[in-house]
Structure formats: C-alpha cells, structure tokens
C-alpha cells in the first residue's frame, strides 16, 4: 500500500550542513527524497534488533543513508562462522561483542550517525524501555521468541516493525504496522513446535540471502521515514534465492488477533519462552546425556552400544562419526522397529539439540529402551575427544 505519511513529523526534521549536503547529494537529487526527506532521515531513530546476517546490511545501509540515530541490540560475540554472511564484522573482530564491532564499522562509514549500543538480550523486562525511544524497529533476530516479543512490543507502543527472516535459501520480508495493517501474529498466530525448523546454526544459510533480505528491510525503513512510497504493509514478499524467484502475497489484519485485533487479550509483554514451548512441560523427565568423554570411556570399555547419527547425509559428510548408524531425524519414529530395547542407544547430531528431538520422538512412539543424548554433538566430540574432526 502507498503509505503517504512519514513516520517523522515535519517539525522534527533537522537541517543539513553543507558537508551533509555533499555526502547525501545522490539522495537530494531524487525528488521523492530531496532535502525534506534527508532532513527526516537525519532526525530518525531506528532500532536494529540483531547485528547478524540481516542486521549487517541493515546497519550499513541505514548508516550510509544518513539515518541520524541507530540503536543496535545484540548479546552475542563475533565468531568465524558468522563472517560468511555478517559483512559488518571482520576477521579481526572475532571474539569481540557484535555491537562493538558493528559500532566501529558504522562510525568508519559515517561518523555523523549516533550509535546506541545495547549489549544485551532483548527481553520482556527491557523491550518496552528500549523500543520506546525509537521511531522504527527493524527485526533481524534468529528465534521465534524474540520475534513475538518484538512484534508485541511494537504493537503496544504503536511502532512499525520492519520484518525480515531467512532460512537456507528462502527469505521473507514485510512491514508489520498494526495502525495501518496486519502484525506478525495476524500472519503467524503461533510458532512451530520447537525443533521442527532448525536454526541457521543447524540448517545452514546461503550467505548472500540475508544480504538481500536485510537490504530490502533497509529500503522499507528509509521509505517509512521519507514517506510517500509503496510500503510492504499488508504484503509479504517471499524470495527463493536458489530458484531466483520473488513472490508477493497479500496479508490481512486478523479481527481476532490477540494483540492488534478488535478485542485484544494481550495488553502487556508475556513469557515468550513459554509461549514458544521452550520451557519443558511440568513433570517431563530430562533426557539422559553422555558427555563426549563419557561416551569415549564407554566405547573404550567395550560396552554394547548403538550410536545413531540423526544428521542428513550432506551433513555427515562434513564430519563423519565412526561406527554410527545413520537414521535422519525425520525418519526416526517410523523406523522404531530398527531399535532394540535391550541395547543402549546414543543419539548424536551437530550440537546435541536435534538429537533430543529424536529421543522425544521415540519416547512418544512408545519405545522403552535406554537412550542417551551425546552432549554438544559431533562438535563436542571434535573438541574433547577427536581433534582430527572439524567443528562446523
């Protein structure tokens, strides 16, 4: 939809210096932006949640474009495996807080931008206080609980939420602005059950994908500030990088949405871990685990064990686990007859998370044998037992 109003009122526009006029000349030459639009960009305050794959292009392009204040939220530290896509960070930044690394890069690019760092996790306790001071929020998070948190906080505070998310080769982008259209909950009333959709750490992601989706988010942020442009409000953009296809879908406001509908039932932030099913149900027995060293000891002692690798073939090829049987996670429950309840079974994956779902799936299917989860997975084994294996 055309969203004619800028989210920045005219009286907040900040006049430009001659140096700024030179720097932003190519914007000023566009009649749709011009001096007025650039003055609003200077006055605008944008919060970027996450300085990873999506946050990197967001922060770089918004800084380059002259957005006056950028808030950046991230609790994480730069790792080597981030650098395949998180282009705001450099090799020399490994082990630094992401917000510090991002701040330095933004300042190098455009010293006129004020950077506010939040080296913390966004939570129900701090989200409203942090978001309140900003005009727009750009969501570049990597988990469902923070997505619902950002959505609800934006709805409660009346802020637009510029949304992007990615998985493997596929991205989604939209603008959720409850005053004008649907919110995230209108589209997705509830998250998937934990474990169904693996994280990028487990499922992988094509490095350029967040570059494309994050840049689309940046474009949406700039247009909300300048005003008068066709926004993604009420539209969901799907992008498939593997087949190079864009698709646009209409999304409607849900009358019964619990946070932005006609009769909302959510009036304050909730416990999003619980909402996303991440707290174990009361009375659930935790799965039994073996540390890599404990498993090594049992193998060395000649214990009768069956080791089941629940990773897919392409992933096993990265780091093979000797003497294991391969049964991909999606097939575990239906292949229950291949398990012998008299033999202890050890399940493993990359980091020891998906293997828990394999154990739960067999429990649910009625399997009674003893099952163990290899703590920290193949990466843990490579770290503690077999240094010849790569960690990935």
């Amino acid at each position: 939809m055309i969203f004619p109003e800028s989210v920045i009122p005219d009286e907040r526009a900040e006049s430009l210096t001659n140096d700024e006029i030179s720097r932003y000349s190519r914007h000023l030459l566009l009649p749709e932006i011009g001096i007025g639009g650039q003055e609003k960009l200077k006055a605008a305050k944008v919060l970027i949640v996450g300085t990873g794959g999506l946050g990197a292009p967001l922060a770089l392009y918004l800084a380059a474009a002259g957005v006056g204040t950028l808030g950046i939220v991230d609790f994480d530290f730069v790792e080597a495996s981030n650098l395949q896509r998180q282009i705001i960070h450099s090799t020399r930044d490994i082990d630094r807080p992401k917000v510090a690394s991002a701040r330095d890069r933004i300042r190098g690019l455009n010293p006129g931008v004020k950077v506010v760092e939040y080296n913390t996790t966004l939570t129900s306790a701090n989200a409203l206080d942090i978001i309140r001071g900003y005009d727009i929020v750009a969501d570049g998070t990597d988990n469902y609980q923070t997505r619902y948190l950002v959505n609800d906080a934006c709805v409660l505070l009346g802020k637009p939420n510029v949304y992007g998310s990615i998985y493997q080769f596929e991205g989604q982008a939209s603008v959720f602005y409850a005053k004008e259209g649907p919110c995230y909950r209108c589209l997705y009333p509830a998250p998937p059950p934990p474990g169904l959709v693996p994280s990028c750490a487990e499922g992988g992601v094509m490095g350029v994908l967040p570059g494309i989706i994050g840049t689309i988010q940046a474009a949406e942020v700039l247009k909300l500030i300048v005003g008068g442009a066709g926004s993604l409000i009420g539209r969901l953009l799907l992008f498939d990088a593997w087949n190079m296809k864009f698709r646009e879908l209409k999304i409607d406001k849900e009358e019964n949405c619990p946070v932005c509908g006609k009769h909302p039932t959510i009036h304050e932030l909730i416990d999003y871990e619980q909402f996303c099913g991440l707290n174990p149900p009361a009375g659930e027995t935790p799965v039994s685990t073996l540390t890599p060293l404990e498993l090594k000891a049992r193998i060395d002692a000649g214990d009768k064990l069956r080791i089941v690798d629940i990773r897919e073939g392409h992933e096993r090829a990265i780091a093979k686990f000797a003497n294991s049987v391969a049964i991909p996670l999606g097939q575990i429950a239906r292949r229950i007859d291949e398990f012998d309840p008299a033999t202890d079974t050890v399940f493993l994956c990359k980091i020891g998370k998906r293997s828990i779902y394999a154990i739960r799936a067999l429990e649910k299917a009625g399997y009674t044998g003893r099952m163990f989860n290899l703590q920290d997975g193949v990466n843990g084994w490579a770290r503690d037992v077999d240094a010849s294996l790569p960690q990935y």
Binding site: G50, T51, G52, G53, L54, G55, D74, D76, N82, D139, G140, T141, D142, N143, Y144, R147, G164, S165, I166, Y167, Q168, F169, E170, Q172, L187, Y188, P189, A190, P191, P192, P193, L196, V197, S199, C200, A201, G203, V205, P210, L236, L238, D240, W242, N243, R247, E248, L249, K250, I251, D252, E254, E312, P328, L329, G330, Q331, R334
Partner: protein, 92 residues
C-alpha cells in the same frame, strides 16, 4: 494439475523437492496430497486433531485461505498453492 510449492523449511521431508503437482479440488486436498506423498511431513503440517498447524499459512495465488474459505477453498485445475511457514533465522 495444480502446483503446490513447498517451502525450504519443509523440504527435509520431500527429498528436497520444491514443488509437486497435485490433483485437488480444494486447498485442503492439495495439502493432504502432499502429506500422502511424503508421510514424514504429516505430523509437521497437522495438529494431533487434524487441524492445520498455525505456523503454516496456505495461499491460493496471492490470497491467504484464511480470507477465503479455509481448507475448503476451491482451487482451479491450474492453481498455484503456496505453503508459507514461519521462519526465524537472521542473526547467528
């Protein structure tokens, strides 16, 4: 035959296939045909009671079936049905 587009998040259950042809008169039949072709996907598409899971949207063309007739929404023989799940990646 209608086309059913399978999102990346569910391709682990479809031998990585991104699209299948289905003989279906409604959106619900199209989704059911996918579950029949790839039984491992079934528990991820449907709640235990048989309702479609709420993190998955079904679009016929550009329109969400929530705004039409739900799973009973009739589809043309050459329709494109798109499954759109919530995905969350972005940072790490």
């Amino acid at each position: 035959m209608a086309s059913l587009l399978i999102p990346t998040a569910l391709r682990a259950f479809t031998d990585r296939k991104s699209e299948i042809e289905v003989a279906a008169r409604t959106a619900g039949e199209a989704v059911a045909a996918l579950a029949e072709a790839y039984p491992d996907i079934k528990q991820h598409l449907y709640e235990d009671g048989g309702a479609l899971r709420s993190f998955i949207n079904v679009f016929v063309g550009e329109t969400n079936i929530k705004s039409l007739n739900g799973l009973d929404t009739p589809i043309d023989a050459d329709a494109t049905v798109v499954l759109v799940p919530a995905i969350a990646g972005g940072v790490r």
